[in-house]
């Protein structure tokens, strides 16, 4: 589509003029910054990028970028993103959303997007709470976290997205912290460049409903071991993970999903011959 080389763009050139609905201090502001920095780093033309989301605070992100975007319905961002990527393999596709959107209502799509391994990147801004509906426990919430909907806590063990992504076949698995803008941007760029389905869990605090998450910036730490391409090693590491290891944890070599729309071709007249009696 680009006939001449695009001018060099800064991160801010990937932002739209729309003011986010997010609360002051929300981790998602940093994620937006990281996403735009990653796109600038990769020198991607904004028109060749599609950011697709579901519903929730973090899912508001497409309209805050200057790329093509689709703010879809709750839990279905990955399905829409898959359709975009298969129809338009030339585009860089980024799916984004929150923990409730991706792991609860959209859980099945998460499993199958990992398994399908289409060449796209999925960013989950995980704050362990439903923020847009004002504070209910999500699949990653601690079992004892008290709320109006689940007084005294859910009593349920949290979902482990990275382990599930690995078991389901994701080809690139990383965790970052929103407060580490530069580090997150680098990992997003890395994920975009890695073939197949890349999954990034970004710990992104909700200062409104989970003020306790302000402590996250002290709890996160660089992964003590290097990334691996061995799923068995990655699994062992993730199973004993404290939830605050930051970095690329797994980088696989699975072949990406191989089907996509191509150029218009063929002759319907030939195809209809099969019906001739």
């Amino acid at each position: 589509m680009n006939e001449c080389a695009p001018p060099k763009l800064k991160a801010s050139d990937y932002k739209s003029d729309l003011k986010p609905v997010w609360c002051s201090g929300c981790g998602d502001y940093h994620v937006l910054l990281s996403v735009t920095q990653a796109l600038a780093k990769l020198k991607l033309a904004p028109e060749n990028v599609a950011v697709i989301s579901g519903i929730g605070c973090s899912s508001r992100i497409p309209a805050y970028t200057n790329t093509y975007g689709f703010h879809t319905i709750h839990g279905r961002g990955l399905a829409v993103a898959t359709g975009v990527k298969v129809a338009r393999p030339d585009l860089t596709v980024i799916a984004a959303g929150g923990d409730g959107d991706g792991f609860s209502i959209g859980g099945n799509h998460f499993l199958h997007a990992c398994r399908r391994n289409a060449n796209m990147t999925y960013i989950v801004m995980d704050n362990e709470v439903y923020g847009m509906t004002k504070g209910q426990p999500s699949p990653t919430t601690d079992p004892s976290w008290d709320s109006a909907l689940s007084p005294g806590g859910t009593g349920l063990s949290p979902f482990h997205p990275l382990v599930i992504a690995l078991a389901s076949g994701a080809n690139f698995i990383a965790r970052t912290f929103s407060g580490d803008v530069r580090g997150t941007a680098n990992i997003i760029a890395d994920a975009i460049e890695h073939p197949g389905f890349s999954f990034i869990q970004i710990l992104s605090p909700c200062v409104t409903f989970r003020p306790d998450q302000k402590a996250w910036k002290k709890r996160v730490h660089k992964a003590v071991v290097d990334e691996t391409d061995d799923p068995a090693r990655a699994a062992r590491r993730l199973m004993s993970d404290d939830g605050f290891n930051i970095g690329v944890l797994y980088r696989g070599h699975r072949k990406p999903y191989g089907f996509s729309c191509g150029a218009e071709k063929g002759d319907i007249g030939e195809i209809q011959k099969q019906f001739e009696a």
Binding site: L18, E47, P62, A63, R76, V80, H109, G262, I268
Partner: protein, 579 residues
Amino acid sequence: MPPNSKNRSVSLAMVGSGGAGVMTSGSMLLEAATKAGLYGLMTRTVGPQIRGGEAAALLRLDSRPVHCVDDIFDIIVAVDWKGAERFAAEVPLGPSSLIVTDPAAGDIPEILLASGARVVELPIEALASAIEDGRPNMVILGFVAALIGLSEKPIHKIITKKLAKKGKAAAATSWQAVQAGYLAAKDVTSPIKVSPVKGDNKGRWMISGNQAAGFGALRGGVRFVAAYPITPATEVLEWMSPNLPKMGGTLVQAEDELASINMIIGASFGGKPSLTATSGPGLSLMMEGIGLAVASETPVVVVNVMRGGPSTGIPTKSEQTDLNIAVYGLHGDAPHIVAAATSVEDCIFTTQWSVYLAEAMQTAVIMLSDQFMGQASAVIDPPANIAFMAQRLVETTPAEDYRRYAVTANGVSPMTLPGTPRGQYTADGLEHNPQGLPSTLMEDHRDQMDKRDRKISEFNYGDHWADVEGEKDSAFVIVTWGSTTNAVREAIGRLKDHGINVRLVAMRLLSPAVPAQFDAALEGAKRILVVEQSHSGQFLKLLRANYDMPGEVRSFRRAGPLIIRPGEIMDTIKNWRVQ
């Protein structure tokens, strides 16, 4: 009717529990009849079992095109009667009908015997066993072909062609079994013979409604399909899967129907005309996604092949009861299009038209088909190549102030596709302003709703909204839709032979309403019969809500799986006439 009447079609049923091969014999007979210059329609009635359940191939053959099932069956042949009582009511017989049974095949269902039909015993199993590897279904194929006066030549051709893969020995064995059947029929008086055929049968097609829907979609420009299997729609998807890549398209098997509808929304956002196919339960799951397509103005087509409902209902049998959910199932005010095919052949036209409408108006189209026509194989004259091709209003050189949802006179706004510089926007299910930015303003909601409604309600649907047939001044009008159209059309033909003129209005466009066209079609009507295959009268209520119907209105309706037959429509009109 006397035997060998030139004006009669032949209706026959081949019965045998799943695995007995009656569907194979049925298809072979249909193909052979086609080769002999006849038209035909083969429908199927099957139980819910994957293998071993009750099954019957139902054929109707004629020298004229065949679109519906007749009132009675002339011949019913059973390899076995296992579970046949579960569908015997779907195979009505008369005193002149013939029941052919193996003495060892079990008891003939009471309802069939009650018709007074003649019973002939045929040792099917014994005839088959006398041939090494001989199969009973081939014996009945030969027997039935002989009864109805079909020559051996086309049968031989089909067997040779179909069994080529299995080797010469298999073909020879089957042919021997067929001949045994022919021989056994020699001394049996048949209630009916096929009409003699004149002329050229070259170029005729044999196609099922589900294949036809897939073909219409492909011809109309669909290049992306997301698929989740469901009875009785799966064949649409299975036909498209190998054929899409030939045209540069592809099919993705989705993890569920929620994924299918949302994948096609994504692919269409990317610029590819997109479709999925499903049935009732899947359509229920897709509703939220269809609303997103409406709000974000992303063209998509959902082919819904109806089956008995509610819930899991009767997956293998037909009903016209997804009309309500198709028209009213979306939350909010969500203008979209509901179209319906009227025959196997029309599945081509209506699906292609649906693709055209979705793309032209950037909205969702639900195309309703049903199990009866979806899974029926019909022999048809080669269909016309129609002009409707997907054509979306695409903006390729957007100005600096490009607005994706600009309020335009006809409601359709030029759409940029990803990859187009300066055309970036975020599609949204949230209400938005003309730029596409989320908005809760009363004015934006009003303007955008007006625009989404206007583009659909003011579109020119031409003559395609319905098939309107018959004399302008007939006092009787039958209004119907979907596969029921064909029984009605045949009833109207027969009534004409009795000197009674009845007009047909078979609606292809169920939503939005087109009052001006409807009024014109019903002009002068004094008595209106509304015919549909539903218990609650969904279609009648849709008409009542949207249209003024002059004169007296009556409803002829019945839930599935019993098909509506021409004779009962004819009787209804005749009885009404003398009142």
